[in-house]
């Protein structure tokens, strides 16, 4: 990509040529984006990922249209095995497992993507500063990033939820903060590769401000690793938030949240009631796999592997 970037020449006569080159470059970039999109749509794994993800998004938006019963409603039979009309059976509270699985999509999807996005935004800002400013700031920040990475996210999450209180905001904020170092590390190395290129040098010579160079010049050129990182982080956010809610940081029992459902019902597996755990567990698995299929396809297309 980088060789297509125009560099302003000192001579005034070339200014028209420069503008033309800049326009052509913009056009190329649009073309490249269209091409990536076309390649992406051709990948079966991307399509499968989008279909599964799309299904859960629809469930999260309009659960009542799909779920046959009220997910919180106590039906007559408790722990009834899967059969019509309770196709996934009922749980230990006699609630319809299928309806609860459908309704639970909302609990995870309202937290995981925003947490991932927030983490990526923080990480991009930190990574841009680290990679562009370098020097002592980079040295100190890199050390802090490394020590954050030495702890499993789930453990720090547990610690944070215990000391700061159990709420959606704390879970989302914690996951975002814990993703920041990982994202920052990726963005930092992408920025380091860009920082010595001619267009950055010429922007400096033009007297552009540091924020302008970072956010208007470098940022658009490191967008590929950032998009990849965002798609990867969504998968991890689902993974982390589901695990945290299984461990007790999620909404309390009557809620149809998937992690909480597994936590509420897994002790009944011993008595043979596997369905009330199995179906929400499969829902979690399908959502993480869908997110990873999308992330993997995006990564292959943008990084050309």
């Amino acid at each position: 990509m980088s060789e297509m970037k125009p560099t302003p020449d000192d001579s005034v006569e070339d200014i028209d040529a420069f503008i033309e080159a800049a326009a052509a470059n913009l056009h190329d970039r649009k073309e490249a984006r269209r091409e990536s999109w076309r390649l992406l749509r051709r990948r079966p794994s991307f399509i499968i990922g989008v279909v599964i993800m799309g299904f859960w998004v629809v469930c999260a938006l309009v659960p009542d249209l799909i779920a046959p019963f009220d997910p919180l409603d106590y039906r007559t039979d408790i722990n009834a095995s899967p059969s019509w009309p309770n196709i996934f059976g009922t749980d230990r509270g006699g609630r319809d497992v299928f309806s609860r699985v459908i309704a639970g999509a909302r609990d995870i999807l309202k937290l995981a993507p925003p947490a991932a996005l927030l983490g990526v935004v923080f990480g991009v800002i930190l990574g841009l500063f680290m990679g562009f400013l370098r020097g002592w700031f980079d040295t100190v920040a890199s050390r802090v990033v490394e020590s954050f990475l030495s702890l499993p996210v789930v453990l720090l999450g547990l610690l944070a939820v215990t000391t700061l209180g159990k709420s959606n905001l704390v879970v989302m904020g914690t996951v975002a903060v814990l993703f920041t170092p990982v994202v920052a590390r990726t963005v930092r190395s992408a920025v380091l590769a860009e920082a010595d290129l001619d267009y950055v040098e010429s922007a400096k010579l033009r007297g552009e401000s540091t924020p302008f160079i970072m956010f208007r010049e470098i940022l658009p050129n490191v967008s590929s690793p950032i998009i990849v990182e965002l798609t990867v982080r969504i998968g991890y956010a689902v993974f982390t938030i589901a695990t945290l809610s299984f461990l007790g940081a999620g909404p309390p029992p009557p809620s149809p949240d998937w992690g909480s459902q597994v936590s509420d019902n897994y002790n009944a597996i011993v008595s043979g009631y596997w369905w009330s755990t199995f179906f929400p567990a499969m829902a979690i698995a399908s959502l993480v796999i869908a997110a990873n299929l999308i992330a993997d396809s995006v990564q292959s297309v943008l990084e050309g592997s």
Binding site: S147, S150, P152, L159, T162, T243, A281, I284, V288
Partner: protein, 317 residues
């Protein structure tokens, strides 16, 4: 080599200090009144004050900070609020039990996933390769507790293979314990297989295309020797790094696995501490996991430096 080790040890000391700082900020600065947290909203104000005095959280913030930094280097984590006994006496035995589970998981994972990685790399882009890559991608993306719950339902309950509760009765022999630990260990094997297999595959593919491999083949070395002495020696460095990182990170996943199988390891200890607001226990567990992570990545770096002279020379200069 000595310089290399000293340099890495210095980095670890700084990392430990930063780690203790992060935990301190989360617990003591953002967390607010610890005594109130531990004793609950209904406790009397003088009890809260007495508890804060007991654990030292009534002192000025800066003094608390220095104490907590000192504590991580001396492994002194104070007393558990629940049992009043030293936290370390509670955490270490639990850590031992978790380690038993983790070691079993790695004994199974490492050979299987390295073999699968080599197998896939030698059949790059063929069906077998795609199967290994995609199974690895899928299995490692599913949370450990989900895999554990499915294994529990399928094997322990349906097929009656393995145990529902992973705690072996006292006095069970090592081999007797295997039956208890097998299913939770398998849940972890499934989770970590993918990372290690994919990293091995990538390393072997790079090494297969390297000049030194071509030279070795051209000079007529038998294929087995090329594989062992030239390809694996180079290709396994990233795999060793991934394994060492997994050793630290597995303590995130093991919590869920222990909960599903009711296993009395570090994870269960932490969950009990969460339930009882026993912050000193939780704090110590998190710090110890951080120390384990640093120790295992240090060992991995040493191993890589031992295998590859280029690494230790680069770091020394």
């Amino acid at each position: 080599m000595r310089r290399f080790i000293l340099k890495r040890l210095g980095a670890i000391v700084i990392n430990l200090w930063l780690l203790a700082t992060i935990v301190f900020v989360v617990v003591n600065v953002l967390g607010g009144d610890i005594g109130r947290k531990v004793l609950g909203p209904t406790a009397k104000a003088e009890d809260v004050a007495a508890y804060n005095a007991l654990i030292g959280t009534d002192k000025p913030m800066i003094q608390q900070y220095f104490t907590s930094i000192k504590n991580i280097f001396t492994l002194n984590f104070g007393n558990s609020y629940q049992s009043q006994s030293p936290v370390i006496d509670l955490v270490l035995p639990a850590l031992g039990r978790s380690a038993k589970l983790a070691i079993l998981a790695f004994i199974i994972t490492i050979p299987i996933s390295i073999a699968a990685g080599i197998f896939a790399a030698r059949r790059q882009d063929k069906l077998a390769d795609r199967v290994v890559v995609n199974v690895g991608l899928g299995s490692s993306s599913i949370p450990e507790f989900v895999t554990a719950a499915v294994l529990l339902a399928l094997f322990a309950v349906h097929f009656k293979v393995g145990k529902v509760y992973a705690n072996p009765p006292a006095g069970t022999s090592i081999f007797g314990q295997l039956e208890y630990l097998l299913l939770p260990a398998m849940a972890m094997v499934i989770s970590y297989f993918g990372y290690i297999a994919r990293m091995t595959r990538a390393g072997v593919i790079t090494a297969l295309h390297a000049d030194y491999t071509r030279t070795a083949t051209m000079k007529g070395l038998p294929p087995g020797q090329v594989m062992r002495k030239h390809i694996l020696r180079n290709a396994l460095a990233p795999t060793i790094t991934v394994i060492s990182v997994q050793i630290g990170y597995l303590f995130g996943g093991i919590v869920g696995v222990e909960k599903v199988f009711n296993y009395a390891g570090l994870g269960t200890t932490m969950l009990n501490a969460v339930g009882k607001q026993d912050i000193p226990v939780l704090q110590a567990s998190v710090l110890i996991v951080g120390i384990i992570y640093m120790a295992s990545t240090l060992l991995a770096d040493l191993l890589i430096a031992y295998l590859n002279p280029r690494v230790r020379l680069d770091a020394g200069s």
